[in-house]
Amino acid sequence: MSRNKTRVHPYIPNSVPEVQREMLAEIGAASIDELYQDIPEHLRFRGTMNLPEPLVAENDLKRHVLKVLARNSTCEEKVSFLGGGCWQHFVPAVCDEIQGRSEFLTGYAGEPFEDHGRFQALFEYESLMAELLDMDVVNVPTYDWLQAASTSIRMAARITGRSEALVSDTIAPDRLSAIRNYCRGIVKITLVSHCPDTGRLDLEHLRGLLSEDVACVYFENPSYFGCIDDQGQAISDLAHDIGALSVVGADPISLGVLKPPSQYGADIVCGDIQPLGMHMQFGGGQAGFIATRDEERFVMEYPSRLFGIETTSEPGEYGFGDVTYDRTSFAHREKAKEFIGTATALWGITAGVYLALAGPQGMKEVGQTILQNSLYARKKISELQGVQIRFPKAHCFKEFVADFGPSGKPVGTINEHLMREGIFGGLDLSGSFPALGSAALFCVTEIHKKEDIDALVGAVGKALEA
């Protein structure tokens, strides 16, 4: 197949015909087709791919893509109270700046000397998270919380040599789905119920389920519903008493004000670092962390890279490398130490920048503002007729559940009203948690102003009366 070259493309410098001729001459081939000799004819695709006409002029491309994106409405144009695993938080400009640097954006798998920057930035991320979490080992981040939780549970199984995990039923449905897929046939997942008025884990139910088969207890704090569980120590103790591990999923942006799980007995802590400097990006900014104590039996079970600080051949020079790259422990039941692939390193670097900017005071400030704003919203909504706050006795962080059942109106109807007023209402839970009624999950963060919350309350009030 001979081709008439019609266009030189800016992304393909050697598409210049003269250059191609020179190169082919040096190779000793008559044409590029000859280089594909090894692909037999019956496997050659001789058709044309039915793709749109290319927008080769950069400005044309820009117009097109921005036009398509313009069909989106954003949480800046509207006011959003959506949460449920992705949250709208303040992103400092310096985070965007560092994350956009070419050197970091296009780096990959260089060595600790030429890519010293990436190693140090990720070591610093690990170290900064370690202070927030009050733990000594933190991984280079994985895909998201779903993966971090799934892996944490399997790590617990490998460490204890046991094959059952007791999982709170107040975790995100997506996380449960992913955990089930990942653990099937390897770790049995048993759900532990919660107390309806406080949202806390039902300790009696937990006691009944604990046995020598249990590798860990996994719960999220705050839960998917935003409820803070103050029984952390009791849960960890119960797990430890039968030789199981305590695994907790935590929201890092809460840890400036809430006690980190390691301080109430957690052995493995996991979660999502998206709140620490990542824009929502339609769910594209997620990244998962896993943290443990610095004990060999834990460290050996990480299926992630762990960057450690090290010397170099030059005295006094900081260097880095992979800690125990060969995870040489072998556990009978577990066949593989899971897998390592390209995950979310750039988000890890960004989260490090966020924590460096925030400092201890900033983490306290942001946590406190979130507490106050969400408390205010919860209170105001609870004062409306026709709505009942779920888990009324719970203390909540950032998110809470309101049930519109008493009004007889489904969440969808309420949210349609809110949309007309430029508001994205709470996430509709009635499909995934019907027991909660016509319930919505509201998320209020530090980015909300009083007038946003008042507008929400006003709009909900009108919707309930309509």
Partner: protein, 372 residues
């Protein structure tokens, strides 16, 4: 300060250039000399030591007198600690053995030796796995896996092991071929045992995925999988090798490292058995053979496990052969197929084909045994 032992077998390699296969035995040595052969190994040893030139401050050499190391070191301007022993003009295996034993007792961080399989064998006899060793290749026959690829690399590896990043060590086969049989045209290799040598693992910095596992860990994993799936009432013929050794260790049986053992229902039926023994002990009950390639040329049968002869293999059956080998072992074959030399060409051809090799706890690799 590191202590480096050096033993040179001055006559190793003399046969090669004059077309003789080795210099074992007085007769052959005389023939070599009469053909004009001159010692090769001192020169090669010196080549290896050049690579350590930069380290002389940190090295103390411990060596045997005169032609067995002292001369070469003095010639390079290093004054070694010389063992108190007699050497004389005619060196022999006993000199090598004595020197090795003395170094073992005295304690050295590494024992570098210049010679061939015979030299390796002599050192093994005294040292076993108590001293880390490394061979500078000089002899004609080098079937053992204890040698560096050339003298310069030997010196470098020694330097890296002693002074740089902690290198791994591994067990490497010491093999030797029966001279008499060889001159009559039969190749019989015997596995004598394993020396511990340093080795450079593949470059692992900057890897983006996957973790390699320690060789012994994988061997233990293989053993665990094998033992879990052993059938009651089946007799297992276990060939020599470090991977098969892990099976025996897991079963907590007194096994022979270089011989063929027999196991059934977790009990040892016999150790270090001959072909006759095996045939006598194999009854009508089902049997399996568990073997691993021995030596660098990828021989599954015929090098080091001759008791598992063509007759034994035929009695057991081709589809009851279980091959075990770590991925590193398979990689080291560099794409070459496994080979067999059962002693019977018809059996060899019958054995050719693809097999599932147990290469992990549950993992298998499909590998080929070549025809002929």
């Amino acid at each position: 300060m590191k202590n480096l032992g050096l033993i040179i077998n001055p006559i190793a390699g003399m046969g090669g250039k004059v077309g003789l296969k080795g210099t074992d035995g007085e007769e052959t040595l005389q023939r070599a000399r009469s053909l004009g052969a001159t010692p090769e190994s001192p020169r090669r040893a010196a080549e290896a030591l050049q690579a350590l030139a930069g380290r002389s401050e940190d090295l103390r050499f411990v060596t045997a007198p005169e032609s067995m190391g002292e001369e070469v070191l003095m010639g390079l301007g290093r004054a070694p600690e010389v063992l108190d022993m007699e050497v004389g003009s005619r060196t022999a295996a006993r000199h090598t053995m004595y020197a090795a034993a003395r170094m073992r007792d005295r304690g050295v961080d590494l024992l570098l030796f210049a010679g061939g399989d015979g030299t390796a064998r002599d050192i093994l006899a005294q040292v076993q796995d108590q001293v880390v060793c490394l061979g500078i290749p000089t002899g004609v026959k080098m079937h053992s896996a204890v040698f560096a690829v050339n003298p310069s690399r030997a010196g470098e590896l020694a330097g890296q092991y002693l002074f740089e990043e902690p290198l791994r060590t591994r067990a490497a086969e010491v093999m030797d071929i029966d001279e008499t049989a060889l001159r009559e045209g039969h190749v019989h290799a015997r596995l004598f045992g394993y020396l511990t040598i340093p080795y450079r693992r593949g470059h692992v910095q900057g890897l983006k995925a996957g973790s390699t596992e320690e060789e012994t860990t994988i061997q233990k994993a293989i053993a665990a999988g094998i033992v879990e799936n052993m059938d009651a009432g089946t007799t297992y013929i276990i060939g020599p090798g470090t991977t098969t050794a892990e099976i025996m260790k897991l079963l907590m049986l007194d096994f022979s490292l270089v011989g063929v053992d027999l196991v059934r229902d977790g009990t040892l039926l016999g150790r270090d058995l001959s072909e006759t023994d095996l045939l006598a002990l194999l009854g009508e009950e089902p049997a399996s053979i568990i073997v691993t390639p021995v030596g660098g040329q990828g021989y599954l049968f015929g090098r080091g496990n001759q008791p598992i002869s063509a007759r034994v293999i035929r009695k057991v059956g081709r589809d009851r052969i279980m091959i075990v080998a770590t991925p590193n072992k398979l990689s080291s074959l560099r794409g070459e197929p496994l080979r067999v030399d059962s002693g019977d060409a018809v059996t060899d051809r019958w054995l050719a084909g693809y097999y599932r090799v147990v290469s992990g706890y549950r993992d298998r690799s499909v590998y080929r045994i070549a025809e002929g």
